[in-house]
Amino acid sequence: MNLPAIARHALAVIVLVAGAVPLAAPLAEDSVLMRAMRDELARSMAELRLEDAEKPYFLAYRVQERTYGGATASLGGLLSSSEGVNRQLFVELRVGDYGFDNTNFRSMSSASAMRPNIATLSVDDDYDTLRRQIWLATDTAYKRALDQIAGKRAALQNQTQVKDVPDFSEMPPHRYDGGTDGQLDTAPARTLARDVSTAMRGMAHLSRSEVRVTTHLERTWFVNSEGTEFVREAPYIGLHALAAAQAVDGTELEDFVALWVRRWEDLPAPMVLAGQVSAMTQRLDQRREAAHLERYAGPVLFEGQAAAELVSQVFGPRLVAIRMPTFDNPAMQQASARFRNPFLDKIGSRVLPRFLSMVSDPTIEGHEGVPLWGRQPVDDDGLPAQRTLLVERGILKTLLSTRVPLAEVPDSTASRWRDMTVPGSFFVTPSRGLSDEELKQELFALAAERGLDHAIIVRRIGSRLAKLNRRSAGYARDGWSSSVEPLIGAYKVFPDGREELIPIAVLSTLSESDFRDIVNVSEATSRHDTGFSPSVDGRAAGFATWPVSVITPTLLFEDVSVRRPRENIPTPPLTPHPLSKG
């Protein structure tokens, strides 16, 4: 691999720990839970068999323990808070062989056989109870697997598989012990939510506001019948400050501050947080008074957070390879075709300009001293995390994948998270770029070519992770649709340096194929954290969001259509804000 630009970039990041650490037993993973998992796994692989039916050829147990806490507050008052702990066991049991097994199949006629193999496990490390719970979950999973393989064989009697791709790839054993001795105090969530929400008090222009603080300490224990084992621990603290206002014409506007850290001490100081929240409310106030942009077609510059959101929301989802299952219903089989990732046919083709490369890297701990999101030492198959070169000098090299092979992507890139495929941190790296000033000049030159007296710069785009109306957030979104969240920080810019804020706008068309025609980028890159929406069978996986860091330069597109949202505008409130009566 010869990638000088990316290599240079790698030097710029602080590499604290890279990759999994090979182990020598016995380790911290020798817990009662691991012992119960191993013992029941060994017994099941040796003895679990129903009369003449097939034995399992692969069995994996993944246990996820979640110690969580969270609080939501508004204007200094608590709305809700909760904390708790639970443990879930995910059983992956396969019958058949690596070439053909019970998976990659969806039955429309036998819903019970398709249910996920999830069971509740005790959080007490009591060996007998754990064994009993694992035993019962394995028995259910085995019976379902037999139903599935029978259903799959029946369905394939009337279908011919175009490509004979194995159902599962064989992997050598790997062990990783990240320990499970970390602590994450959930108690500060309440105070923090209250305190940060206090920063939005006294603002009569805000119709709604909310601060959500979420903490998780997720521990994962894993064993499989190939000898892979791991123990992993991931703390998470998320802070979302959200506010909404109605513009003078009634248009509803939202903005947010979102940040995630691994430790409480990594959060910015209260004064800094309050400053960020206050800046957000000021932005909202400015947008309330701003004039709408009706329609614009021309060059657009996406800076900072907006560039990162664009990469995460439009380009990133295409970098994930998802295998379409066999359905026992021809209509479903046909319907599923529309969720096929168009990038599967683009491997070897140019998808970015020649001066851009892109990497997914879950091995890098931090960027400029700040921990990165997307990092995990091993994926949920127990494979050591690996850096994946996705686009090299504009050419698509591969897609992110798991142990479920595709004809186009036969090998796992160790990208499994639960039942989804997710990236590590995304690095979009330019081999050449312009200074900010040069980039602006090019923007105006492109605008002038079209006879425009102004151009557009987008600095903020809405995030799928941070919405006040959670019901609409990520709900049943088509994984391959190119809808982008609204532009909440867009400006009309003029060659004389004047900037006019646009209250809200949407991109009417912008898809992954437009990235090929990026005309130029900045030399410098910046890092932003965002929520990646993974998909299952090509469709968005509901509310699951994977925080990921995106390191990208500013992106200049030549042809982008921007317009005012088409939705009807609600009338302004009939009653004045309670603060406005003095």
Partner: protein, 577 residues
């Protein structure tokens, strides 16, 4: 105008083993009610001047604080603690004769989904409280005028129904305030209990799940309306649930549950009582696995007090809920039967949310004010067998123009008439032996081989709509066959089914053994806690149908640490008493 609302006192944590003392919180509520009232008046003043004025407005804030712990087979599986504060608004435009809440015809209603929607609201900060009240009232008003336009159009294009009563009754102003009850959750102690309560099931290789959970929650409500009512109530609920499941050789899933409820933690049964119940459950489950199946049957039966409580809840209670007498899609079984005899004259039935306790057991259907600001009261619905009344929310129906304090709901739903504590009274009762003797006489008279005794139940459900069969189902967990020779034999695999009027006409006699059933009732205004107090009853004919079952085999491998021999089915023919 800023006012600091005193912070709510923290939960009263009780150290393991320490003597629990009833704690009451301070007087924060007055201020919350004041702010709600001020904001209500401010919005009402402006909304009353709109082209479509608001004629009624109410705010209800519910704070739900909960602690739950759960264990399986002797080990803890989860704990959870949380608090949530929600706002419900009832805003009406039009007039009490016709307003935005009028039920729309099926044609118009189609496609609208009834999801629960409640805004979260801070109560410990005045600015937050006012801002959310303001914003949600505006939203609610806009929804109300939009819906009222639909209602007006709907009324024009549809034929009038027989019931000419309006949409809202005027009620008395109520002012009351209770102190906030502190949640007395001894989480460590509860964890220890649920471990111990679920542990004995681990000794049985045939029990496939065995959960014990304890939940404590305090529901505090602040309510104000534009009629001047201002009410604060606070009540604690403590529940202990134990559920274990075995499976018969034929794949039938056989659950056995025990539920205990109290308004205080010390009202829950002591360890000795619970462990005795647990051991009885273990025995029942072992016996149920091999108990004989009952084929579909119609014949005489005795329903225990708990079973008959659910029976009355399903066939009578739901059909007496006021709005069901009005809805064009409702079966309206009892609408025109006021003054008629529907039960033997020895039976009377009342709904009484003012009773908090019966025979040493707290009743979960008790409350002081309903969710429409109306004071709870006893409502006799059947007096000496004659139907006299319905359960009323503030939706008037023909002949019943006022609420009787049964407008209930869960957070996020609109209130409708719902049940509270259902109390069945009998002026003549029989001992268990007398009931059994009379049952056996009926069995013999009808040429049957046996009668049935429904002892323990999980719950039930019913359908009251007219476009579907008006049936009910009671789902028992423990049923005995009473043979002609008087022996009682445990059986499995049946649910009690029927239609309401037929079932009622077959009630023959009451026992002297009143039992309490505490549960949760789900209907269009969300899950609400309800109770029933009922004697066992003798029914001359009930019908049972086969219960849905799976064809799933028993586990292939024996439980870890057990041999195959222990897993083989026993030759027993079931428990006989």
């Amino acid at each position: 105008m800023r006012r600091a609302i005193p912070a709510r006192p923290g939960r009263g944590r009780v150290a393991p083993g320490a003597l629990a003392i009833l704690l009451f919180a301070g007087q924060a509520a007055g201020d919350v009610l004041d702010v709600m009232r001020e904001e209500l008046e401010r919005s009402r003043g402006i909304l009353a001047l709109q082209p479509t004025p608001a004629y009624y407005l109410s705010y209800e804030i519910t704070e739900d604080e909960t602690v739950t712990v759960g264990a399986e087979f002797g080990s803890l599986t989860r704990w959870w603690e949380g608090v949530r504060r929600s706002l419900d608004i009832d805003l009406r435009v039009g007039s009490p004769t016709l307003d935005n809440t009028r039920e729309l015809s099926e044609r118009v209603r189609r496609g609208s989904l009834g999801f629960a929607r409640a805004a979260q609201i801070p109560i410990d900060d005045e600015e937050g409280l006012r801002t959310v009240l303001w914003h949600r009232t505006d939203k609610k008003y806009k929804e109300a005028i939009e819906r009222f336009t639909k209602v007006q159009a709907d009324v024009k294009v549809n034929v009038e129904t027989g019931d000419k009563t309006g949409d809202f009754s005027l009620e008395k102003t109520e002012v009351a305030s209770e102190d906030t009850v502190a949640l007395r959750a001894d989480r460590t102690g509860w964890e220890d209990k649920v471990r111990r309560y679920s542990a004995p099931f681990a000794d049985s290789p045939h029990v496939f799940s065995a959960n014990a959970s304890i939940q404590g929650n305090v529901e505090t409500r602040w309510y104000v309306n534009s009629e001047g009512s201002a009410i604060k109530t606070s009540v604690a609920y403590y529940r202990l649930s134990i559920r274990a499941v075995t499976r018969a050789e034929d794949g039938m899933v056989l659950p056995r549950t025990e539920q205990f409820f109290s308004l205080t933690p010390e009202g829950l049964p002591n360890d000795e009582t619970v462990m005795a119940a647990v051991h009885e459950m273990v025995g029942d489950l072992e016996a149920l696995r091999t108990a004989p199946l009952v084929e579909p049957y119609a014949g005489p039966a005795i329903l225990s007090g708990k079973a008959s409580g659910v029976f009355f809840h399903e066939i009578l209670g739901h059909r007496l809920e006021g709005h069901r007498q009005k809805g064009a899609t409702e079966g309206q079984t009892f609408s025109k039967m006021v003054g008629e005899s529907v039960l033997p004259e020895t039976f009377s039935v009342a709904f009484d949310p003012t009773i908090r306790r019966f025979g040493g057991t707290d009743l979960v259907g008790a409350y002081r004010y309903d969710n429409q600001g109306v004071k709870a009261r006893r409502v006799p619905v059947i007096v000496n067998g004659v139907l006299t009344n319905f359960l009323m929310a503030r939706l008037p129906i023909e002949g019943f123009s006022r609420s009787n304090g049964h407008g209930r709901k869960n957070v996020g739903f609109a209130p409708v008439a719902r049940q509270s504590n259902l109390i069945v009274e009998a002026s003549e009762t029989m001992t268990r032996e007398e009931l059994k003797a009379r049952l056996l006489a009926m069995v013999e008279r009808d040429g049957k081989e046996f009668g049935l005794f429904f002892d323990r139940i999980q719950g039930g459900f019913t359908i009251t709509r007219r476009d579907l069969p008006n049936v009910f189902t009671v789902t028992p967990t423990v049923v005995y066959r009473i043979n002609l020779d008087g022996t009682e034999e445990l059986v499995r695999g049946v649910n009690l089914i029927g239609t309401p009027l037929t079932a009622f006409s077959r009630i023959e006699a009451a026992g002297d053994d009143f039992q309490v059933f505490n549960g949760t009732c789900g209907a269009e205004s969300g899950p609400v806690p309800v109770a029933s107090v009922s004697p066992s009853i003798l029914v001359s004919q009930i019908e049972v149908q086969k219960r849905a079952t799976t064809q799933t085999r028993l586990p292939i491998l024996p439980p870890p640490g057990h041999s195959f021999g222990e897993m083989s089915p026993s030759a027993s023919m079931g428990e006989t008493r």
